[in-house]
């Protein structure tokens, strides 16, 4: 071992970190080399000197201060821990339940608000006219004729799901029965006193024709009445459907706001139509025609169901007045508007044409009257 290698191993040797084999080598070198031996002795001296030195002691004030700080810190931490503990099991549930209650109450209020908004929303100009539910309105009106006509002609709104299906049922039934009743009632000899004045100008020869015509008018009224009674006898079926429709309506109530609106509008048309029919009923054909024409000329054109009745009413009025061609025109309009009424309209048109032809043949001069 040379001196450089010894120098490297010397520290480990002093620190007692050399391996046993190396330790022997170092010892051998120490014995052989005086220079390294002196160096080693000096290092040992230095080491001993520092180890013998008495450590300076920090002042007790410093130590006490540090100790107190440590205790305070631990204590503070412990307090904050207990604070956290007391907060978590009491305050957290209390606060969360309070929050939940608040939300629940608010939600409840919002529910009320929704209904309020709904009423606000329904404060529409047309909604003000909102009648009682259709059936109720019909029953409460006390105007049986109007009610009958309503049910006969299926005036109820198609947009109203309450009445849509029974209405179709009734009108379909009427279309079926219309023709048979008409033919059955043709020979009916029941005089229509109101119409007599209207057909004064028609000669004696035309009386059978007149009777036919009267029969037609009467048959309409009678068929209406029969339809009505038929509708009521078969009411069980239609009422069941009504119930189903009502259930469906309750579910889709909100969706049908638009439909309701249009039905309100329709009810306004209905009022006008009812007036026209009343006028017709009381024999005031001119006023009825006028009302009907106004109804047809309304800005948003009335729905097909209304139109259908208007044309029928107009046709009947013109028939009463003896204006055959006008009546024919209105029946044609009815035919176009309502496919349900086609059978009735067809038969009427046929009858009227025959009548017109008869009149043409017998009294050519009378033809000018309706054309005026």
């Amino acid at each position: 071992m040379n001196c450089d290698k010894f120098e490297e191993l010397l520290i480990d040797f002093i620190e007692h970190e050399t391996e046993i084999s190396q330790r022997e080598l170092v010892k051998k070198h120490l014995e052989s080399c005086q220079n390294c031996s002196d160096k080693f002795k000096d290092y040992i001296k230095i080491n001993r000197l520092f180890n013998e030195e008495i450590k300076p002691q920090p002042s007790p004030q410093v130590l006490n201060r540090l100790s107190k700080i440590a205790r305070d810190d631990v204590e503070r931490d412990r307090t904050s821990f207990w604070k956290r503990w007391s907060y978590s099991p009491i305050l957290v549930p209390v606060l969360s339940s309070a929050l939940a209650l608040f939300i629940w109450i608010n939600y409840g209020k919002k529910d009320i608000d929704y209904s309020h908004i709904e009423t606000n929303y329904s404060r529409d100009a047309m909604a003000k006219k909102a009648p009682l539910p259709k059936e109720q309105a019909l029953l409460d009106s006390g105007e049986k004729i109007i009610g009958d006509i309503e049910s006969k002609s299926g005036s109820l709104s198609p947009a109203d799901p309450l009445m849509a299906s029974p209405e179709a049922h009734l009108s379909g039934r009427r279309a079926q029965t219309g023709v048979t009743e008409e033919t059955a009632n043709l020979p009916a000899s029941e005089p229509a006193t109101e119409e007599e004045s209207d057909i004064d100008e028609i000669k004696e020869a035309d009386k059978p024709l007149q009777k036919v015509e009267e029969g037609l008018a009467q048959s309409t009224i009678e068929s209406e009445a029969k339809d009505d009674s038929f509708g009521r006898t078969t009411g069980m079926n239609s009422e069941e459907r009504l119930e189903q429709a009502k259930l469906a309506d309750r579910k889709d109530n909100e969706k049908d706001k638009g439909a309701e609106l249009s039905s309100f509008r329709e009810s306004a048309y209905n009022e006008q139509l009812i007036l026209a029919l009343k006028q017709q009923g009381t024999g005031n054909c001119e006023a009825s025609i006028k009302t009907n024409n106004e109804l047809l000329n309304n800005a948003p054109p009335p729905p097909i169901q209304i139109k259908e009745k208007v044309y029928l009413s107009l046709a009947e009025c013109y028939e009463q007045k003896g204006e055959w061609e006008n009546a024919l025109f209105n029946y044609q309009a009815l035919q176009q508007v309502s496919p349900n009424q086609t059978a009735l309209a067809n038969s009427k048109i046929e009858t009227l044409r025959q009548q017109i032809n008869l009149i043409k043949a017998r009294q050519p001069r009378l033809l000018n009257l309706p054309s005026k």
Binding site: D12, E17, D42, I46, E52, P56, Q57, D77
Partner: protein, 211 residues
């Protein structure tokens, strides 16, 4: 004075773990064990008087209190303690150097006179009863010899020969590999020997022996 002082069986790490978990007596034990060694280390590192060193000592232990929850039981407590102390000393030296550079505008020669000045202070004011037990001259020489060492050599020498930390621990504290620690320790011994020979201490001892 300290509650756990008698419980010698507790290691530093166990005591620190207790303190971390809220037992202040663990801290007292550590304070009792290491305050003196740390104070000496600081005094030698920053070449300062005892009150100055005590200020730094307090800062180091406050840091321990502050960061007690971050303490990892697998880490040697002494490594952590001396690592904190070393960093504080380095910061202190840096600030002090800057302050001296600004205030002492005289010349770079003044640095040379710094050593004796500090030594004088230590000698005159900070010698307590224990220190007086050592030969005054030897004590002065020791201080001077260590102060003359380079900072890197000084810290390794102090940690190893005075505080008795393992070479590996010193490597952790000073953030250098083990081989570097060994070589630095060797250079520290070599320089100190040269110093003692230079100042004639070893020769005098030799002479005294011969006489």
């Amino acid at each position: 004075m300290f509650g756990l002082g008698t419980k010698k069986e507790l290691t530093d790490e166990e005591a620190m773990a207790r303190f971390r978990n809220g037992d202040a007596r663990g801290f007292d034990l550590l304070l009792q064990r290491h305050s003196a060694g740390l104070l000496r280390f600081i005094m030698r590192m920053i070449k300062a008087t005892k009150p100055q060193a005590e200020d730094l000592l307090q800062e180091v232990f406050l840091k321990i209190i502050e960061n007690r929850k971050k303490y990892d039981s697998n880490q040697r407590f002494t490594s952590w303690l001396y690592s904190l102390a070393r960093n504080h000393c380095i910061d202190y030296i840096r600030v002090e150097k800057y302050r001296q550079h600004n205030s002492l505008d005289s010349s770079s020669f003044s640095n040379k006179s710094d050593g004796p000045v500090i030594l004088d202070i230590i000698r005159s004011k900070d010698k307590n009863q224990e220190e007086r037990a050592i030969d005054e001259e030897t004590h002065t020489l020791l201080n001077q010899g260590i102060e003359d060492l380079k900072k890197e050599l000084r810290e390794v020498f102090l940690l190893r020969e005075i505080e008795g930390l393992s070479l590996k621990e010193i490597g952790d504290i000073t953030v250098v590999p083990l081989s570097t620690v060994k070589s630095r320790l060797r250079y520290a011994y070599r320089d100190l020997r040269h110093y003692f020979i230079k100042v004639g201490y070893f020769e005098e001892v030799q002479r005294a022996k011969e006489v």
